[in-house]
Amino acid sequence: MGKSISVTDLKAWYGDSLTLKGITMELDANRATAIIGPSGCGKSTFIRCLNRLHETSPGAKMEGSIRLEDEDLYTMDPVDVRRVVGMVFQKANPFPTMSIYDNIAIGLRLGGIRNRTELTDRVEKSLKMAALWDEVADRIHTPATALSGGQQQRLCIARALAVEPEVLLMDEPASALDPVSTLRVEELVEQLKESYTIVIVTHNMQQAARVADKTAFFLNGELIEFGETTGIFTNPVDKRTEDYITGRFG
């Protein structure tokens, strides 16, 4: 089951530039939250803070608190954080030296699962969850890089799901995909939010409207508006949100 995340006064820097200027928000368990906003508004930085990936960049720093239910993510070991907060990246990044099977099994093996039958079952289950199994069932030992872009991205989703995280972060997961693959990823998010807390960054407002229960609008490192998706898109409170969603800037 997913867990909720509460973010309090989150600030993040790259070197001297303040990218997030104090974000406070609650991300509900088992719901999909979309983060929208123009390029450079800090939405990617925000979700990179949620799995502590931000701090691995040169010169990156953060401040504030992020709690996963009753645990403080920033007192945990970052490696443990990333095992409960999974991530799918903007560009599909299956490990290029591994087969489809190994791409998924590696996380399980490192998590201590050695039994072959169990590994195979979990790989199959993850591929089914990511709606990829039917397309690759007969070639799971071939290189992952031979898959199409959309398939690679679903493989990355399967890889993240295999280790059974509680939260799934998606950083513009469909921005490099064709419309059909995008639709498949969106359907997937729809299904996955039953068991995971999903945070999805997107450029695409229709996508946010289609998949997200709640939507947050970021601008220049600040959270401008956050609420139920229908409310944000039909009746925005802030003028800047309205301007953005009606396409007047950004």
Partner: protein, 336 residues
């Protein structure tokens, strides 16, 4: 319409000839050198036969006595040439060097590529490259003055305690000039070249894949072990082959710390040895006094074996890589 002047036509002709000559010169040099070595080695092959490869005695014979005729060639009476101790010395010292250099280079490269940044990265990289620039004779001198006594008094004594477990570590530890010191000196000489190449390779691993691993909850070491190292594997073997070639062919530093053993196979890690390259440098002077010239031919055959062995081991390494490796497609990005 502009007419091409005859001066610029001539310049173009000169340019084409010059680039042609320059471009073909590496091939020409390689072929010419290989041919000369081969031709020079033929009399020695006739005189010594296969014995040259498995025999132990290197004896130039009586240079002031009668000449001996055998298989259509002439040599000093009593002469007998065999290279096994030098082949063994070369391979053994190179293997020691590469075994020491692999972990040191790998971890140094990892630190340079991923751990340090900015000025510190720059300074450390410069230091590694400076190490590569130390003339081998200087390293050899340091080897004689500092390394060999330390090996004799400390390292070898300590290692010899493991003698009951590993036979080759058993004493006597000798003078400090020998196989172990040669291996250490070679390791120092090949670490910079392997480190610099490996660092460049590691820096080429796309951040996308490393973040994929980090995002999956891999530790720093697991990212290196499961993502970066497989990614750079072919190049890393190339870097090792480069270091290996350098170790096999290194002459001066090894000559100074090897103990210059002749007619003797190493019996433990501290035995005096000689390598093929060191023997050629060491023996050429006296070989030139051989009126039959057979001693020079024998050294040429040694050079030929060195060249062939270096090439063979290089090919072997590359073959091992392609044999064990699954073919990796380069189109790793999104094709959508």
């Amino acid at each position: 319409m502009r007419k091409v002047s005859s001066a610029s036509k001539n310049a173009d002709r000169v340019f084409r000839v010059a680039t042609g000559v320059a471009a073909s010169s590496p091939v020409v040099f390689l072929v010419v050198i290989a041919l000369i070595v081969l031709v020079q080695a033929i009399p020695s092959m006739k005189f010594n036969g296969w014995h040259f490869i498995y025999g132990i005695q290197w004896n130039m014979g009586n240079l002031y006595g009668a000449l001996e005729h055998k298989n259509g060639v002439t040599a000093a009476a009593g002469a007998s040439y065999a290279a096994l101790p030098f082949i063994v010395g070369t391979l053994a010292s190179s293997i020691i060097a590469i075994l020491i250099a692999i972990p040191i280079s790998m971890f140094t490269a990892l630190i340079l590529a991923y751990r340090v940044r900015g000025v510190l990265q720059w300074i450390l990289s410069i230091l590694v490259e400076l190490l590569a620039g130390i003339p081998s004779v200087v390293i050899g001198l340091w080897g004689i003055i500092t390394l060999a006594p330390w090996v004799r008094d400390n390292l070898a004594v300590w290692l010899s305690h493991l003698g009951p477990v590993v036979p080759y570590l058993r004493g006597p530890v000798g003078t400090g000039l020998g196989l172990l010191s040669s291996g250490l000196v070679l390791a120092i000489m090949i670490v910079p070249i392997i480190t610099a190449t490996t660092r460049d390779l590691l820096m080429q691993v796309p951040i996308l894949y490393r973040e994929g691993g980090i995002g999956l909850g891999m530790t720093t070491w697991e990212v290196v072990r499961y993502i970066c190292m497989p990614f750079i594997r072919d190049g890393f073997v190339g870097a090792l082959a480069l270091g290996w070639g350098r170790a096999m062919g290194e002459t001066m530093a090894v000559l100074m710390v090897s103990g210059s053993a002749m007619n003797l196979l190493p019996h433990n890690l501290y035995s005096p040895i000689s390598t093929m390259a060191a023997v050629i440098a060491d023996q050429l002077d006296s070989a030139l006094t051989d009126a039959s010239q057979m001693a020079v031919h024998a050294l040429a055959e040694l050079a030929l074996i060195l060249m062939v062995l270096t090439l063979l081991t290089n090919f072997l390494a590359r073959w091992l890589v392609t044999r064990t490796g699954r073919r990796r497609s380069t189109k790793a990005g999104v094709a959508a």
